[in-house]
Symmetry: D3
Subunit: 137 residues, 6 copies
């Protein structure tokens, strides 16, 4: 078994707000992230798949196909979008780095032929990232 | 003369739109940046100052003071803000990387004791940046 | 379960020397790191915590609180310090990258509310780093 | 147990071609990588070893020795070489990132005194890398 | 006047050889770069243009158009190619970092609407790069 | 004319202290950098040379020779050293980033065959650097 990781980027706006909390509580918990005008980030996504190497190609996964899946399932939906207002999963979940990683896992799971999704890593900034290995880990 | 450069970061939302153009023209010119829900970036700012070294300190400029000026004049105004809606200079100017560099120059010019502002560089993403050297260059 | 990683930086001096060895042995084993005048590095610390996402906040761990813990427990003690002379754990342990990772683990273990310390990674330079997962791994 | 990782670089030429397939199939599968004139990359290798810290040195592994092993076993063989034409393991295996990681594992396994090889990571580019943990993982 | 810089990447093979020199002289001057099987690099190109900001768009240069020009004039010709064998300018000039920078300048000069080509920077590796400002500088 | 830049690294200890000032003044001006036990950094040096390309080699400067000069004149003197105690120029000058850049310029000036020293850049950390272009600029 071998692991292959490919990166992709998306630039999005977001803010943190829980409408079941008071304004004061939102501001206490989320600080400047609670500004509902939104701010944004250059997110970096690292998707790791696991599998056996195909002896014909030397690949775990067709790289062009993997890139197209990331583009179609994630980048085309998240990039240059306001996550809170335009991406359905964040109508209810707060778009924290943790929740974005889980949402991307769910978008990709079962979509990658001949390989198993192993890890989704999302960097919100170079000094902050979340890793998700699926529900069974 | 020697040059000293310090970096600072801010994360902001923005979009590109010229209200004197039609919707179709905005979309043709600005593409996915024309989405008025906004998207965002981790901007990196590099401010370069020029001057002579103070023989007492070995510094061109007091680094703590320079950091405080960048924080007060730029980061506290731009970070975790929606540039189009919350930063006054972008009520009229489109917040392109070029216009952000010029706006930061104007915010910093004349504010740095004992040194001359030499260059403002703004990275919107690691592969795109603008440099401004002031009006007289 | 999800993992969240936050980076922090500190700049410190150190040298490698085991006083139970002869000068010649120290120089043979540690090479130029045995210079007792000391040299130094920009260390980068990556702290990974594991836990469940709080459905109210979308966070595994309060980011502001995590940053304050790293600052209080590690950065304020190590940054701009000579590790051999000023940090108590290196009065006896040689401040190698491995020993620094273990020392930081011990400083942080049990201090992070609602999450489990998963990994401490310390970069001495971009091309050299140590990972510690605790005694039970 | 603690993990120590050291990076090394090599710059090599390669191409992807399976001589048991037709030209058309090679081009369909490998795209522009099928150009048999070759292209090339700045590869980055990360070698992770696992072990106990030697209480005399504070090291899992002697860093100078580890660097020499990477140089002798990998860099001197791969760097400034055409992988398909000059490195024996790629006379038969296609030099994909996955196969390079496995080949480096085989070159290093059993060569590192007092520590166990834990992981070989190979970056072909900053946005694509393979991880191999050995046959028994 | 303001400067805008955009990066692009290409991965190519090359070697250094001057056929008017003896084999021994080639090996003395070019060392391991003289291996005529070729080796390769992930090159990074930074193209800087200078101009005035268009008040309608806030741009010095249309970014989509600039990206297309870099793709058409440089990347599509150099990427996944063997520079010595497949790129016409290197039939005679040795593809050193310096000569690649000049060749790219010549490919781009006069092709960028409404802006002046200011600088071409080519990184062969992260620790080596050449800058060219044109013949008149 | 073309410019070629090569990077080199050194890891050193230093502190900031002007013995003609009182302890209180040193602490007010230099803050935590005034700790005379010292701290340290991974410095990155970028040396830029300017010249004409040699038509025989395609080089402005012999890269192996340039690397050897940087190693001999700078790295072997500064690396794994305490700048204040072991490098002669910092017996009198405070080893600020600015003064280090000037000291390296003086060490390199006139030593590079067939090319002119154009710029010395020194990074103390990734977010702070000084540039020196010589006395006549």
């Amino acid at each position: 078994m071998i692991l292959l990781t490919r990166k992709a980027d998306f630039s999005s706006a977001h803010f943190y707000w829980n409408s079941s909390l008071s304004d004061a509580e939102n501001e206490r918990i989320f600080g400047k992230c609670a500004n509902r005008q939104g701010h944004g980030h250059n997110y970096t996504l690292e998707v790791t798949v696991a599998g056996e190497i195909d002896p014909v190609t030397g690949f775990v996964v067709d790289l062009k196909q993997l890139k197209d899946i990331l583009e179609h399932e994630v980048v085309s939906v998240y990039d240059h979008r306001h996550l809170n207002h335009e991406v359905p999963e964040f109508a209810t979940a707060i778009p924290t780095t943790e929740n974005i990683a889980i949402a991307i896992w769910r978008r990709l799971e079962g979509k990658i032929p001949n390989a198993r999704l192993h890890r989704v890593r999302v960097y919100e900034m170079p000094d902050l990232f979340a890793d998700y290995y699926g529900e069974h880990q």
